[in-house]
Symmetry: C2
Subunit: 338 residues, 2 copies
DNA sequence: CTGTTAGCGCATTCAC
DNA sequence: GTGAATGCGCTAACAG
């Protein structure tokens, strides 16, 4: 990698290194002619400034990190897409880290990045994260940080999410209106605020409609085979739920799989609605009713806010806790009729 | 970011900076006692070496880049997952870049990274990439490079892919055995070698089985609405295809959508088989027959090979062109019966 | 085993 | 407008 550097340019042009540096950064104190000469040669030799040298000197990396629990999930893919819609314009680079829903990994990654490798991070916490010290420590170090989707109510950090409780309420109410009497809530194990918000919406809908059947909160995991076992046991019972509200797309898929195994018909025997960003949900058998989150927008806005922090701009009040609304799409999986 | 540095540690311990540096890197020429003292204080102060300084000094970044056309695609998500299964163990970081199937972006990204920001790249080329100069230039600079999935036959670069032609042959033959007489191939526009391989498999199956109906190669794009228009026009014709082999998951989804619009029944009127890594394919209406690529393994192996190159190890012959087999799963979308 | 010294490539201060 | 000198934090060559 015999990279051209400033010294070589300077020598070739009979200029000082500092002059070349300034010319390339379009400093006002360099004559137009010199700038032109410098730029021409730089272009010709394909000069690219060494990022490590300039990061070291300027104490900034032009890099941000995105830390997510998993990537095989349309929601997070779309978020990354949204983030990537702003980073190149800012001249920034994006590092990706996966926690695989493991608190220890999450903590280690944050620790690993606390050395100037990145100018800021965007994180959606893992479901095994209960201790938040790693995040407050990061915050205290004064490095920009934004939470998205899987936020933490306890923390005073800018965060971007959707109207979880409201949509959970709507989804549950939708199931009730379609005649469900015994609705199960499938949530993430752990104490994620996102799960809690969705659970709260579910519970408050049951309460508002004075449902007498006790709520049934089922905690599932990141592992499909475990979830299928759990659901299998539940739906084998004679009085199984007649409605399912899945907080996560994966859980709806697991429900479909188990209903197939047990010959339970959707929507006749069980109605299903789920948070999901899968385009193909409309092609399911039967088409899955979904709550679609504005994933791309969440990514884009989270990135915009992170850059405001990095550039030390003031945040508008609404930017400190931004809520982007989701949309409920009713499809065949919650249709009435027998 | 008042980061602790070596100098401060050295001062506190009454040691030279170099001694501290060596102790932390577990050099054999440092006494165990000193190492212990150094480590203890480093831990206590939360010392993290500045990566830019050490990258500058050692001329390596401990970072690789993954360049892909899009991320909202299960295949690429799973590839990233596979890559991430090896990078942390190597102490490496992963930068993500999206080309959005745009050659100019792809070229610019490669240009942007030719300055030591990364120690190597893994790339799946965009479908608008016809000129390969940006890749050969990269190669000539001697920086490690691995191609995966969307490879380039013209280049002598290590690449990892699946047995595209063979699986395309099998899929087409499968449709023929199920009674299709008029099979359309849905491929990516452009001149991707991956499309060509899959098309070749399709054509050779038609030839082997002496199909008289002329082959129908349809070129689709990255935009769903354009694809739907194209397919709509084709399936509106009276003699529309009775079988579809989609080279990409997205195209199968588009086919399902259009068949729904036009009230064409799958599999009775049209049978569909597709390359796809979507777990939910089994839940489609009807369940979609798929060719599943070993995406995770492709990512993992590509990363392993890239690290061999970075570490200047010799590649085994089979590693220069690695082919990981896919699997055809027959489901209802290609079932016989009326 | 430990210390001294010299850069990596760049941006920036201070001269002129 | 331009040049010379300094140092970001770290590693490595060379001494001792």
């Amino acid at each position: 990698m015999d990279q051209v550097n400033l010294k070589q340019l300077a020598k070739e042009l009979n200029l000082a290194v500092s002059t070349v540096s300034r010319a390339l950064r379009d400093s006002h104190e360099i004559s137009p002619q010199t700038k032109e000469r410098v730029r021409e040669l730089a272009m010709k030799l394909g000069f690219q400034p060494n990022p490590h040298a300039s990061s070291l000197r300027q104490n900034k990396s032009k890099t941000i990190a995105v830390i997510i629990p998993e990537i095989e999930n349309n929601f997070f893919s779309q978020v990354i897409n949204g983030i990537e819609s702003v980073t190149p314009n800012k001249g920034y680079h994006v590092l990706i880290y996966l926690t695989h829903e493991d608190y220890n990994k999450e903590r280690d990654i944050l620790q690993l990045l606390r050395n100037g490798r990145v100018d800021g991070i965007m994180i959606s916490v893992s479901n095994t994260t209960t201790n938040l010290d790693h995040i407050t420590a990061w915050q205290q170090a004064g490095i920009p940080l934004v939470l998205f989707d899987r936020t933490c109510d306890e923390l005073d950090v800018p965060n971007i999410m959707t109207n979880d409780a409201e949509m959970a309420f709507k989804a549950t109410e939708h199931l009730l209106k379609r005649g469900c009497k015994n609705i199960a809530f499938l949530g993430m194990a752990g104490n994620l605020s996102i799960s809690n918000r969705r659970k709260a919406g579910y519970l408050s809908a049951l309460e508002k409609h004075k449902v007498t059947t006790p709520p049934q909160v089922i905690e599932l995991t990141a592992k499909d085979y475990i979830n299928r076992e759990t659901l299998h046991a539940i739906f084998q019972q004679p009085q199984h739920p007649d409605g399912v509200f899945a907080a996560i797309e994966k859980f709806a898929v697991n429900t479909y799989e188990v209903c197939k195994e047990l010959d339970l018909r959707i929507p006749q025997d069980v109605k299903v609605v789920s948070f999901s960003n899968l385009q193909a949900a409309a092609l399911f058998d039967p088409a899955l009713s979904t709550i679609i989150q504005p994933a791309y927008d969440i990514g884009r806005e989270a990135a915009n806010i992170l850059f405001k922090l990095i550039e030390k701009k003031m945040l508008m009040p609404y930017e400190k806790k931004m809520i982007l609304p989701s949309q409920l799409i009713e499809r065949a999986s919650t249709a009435t009729g027998s």
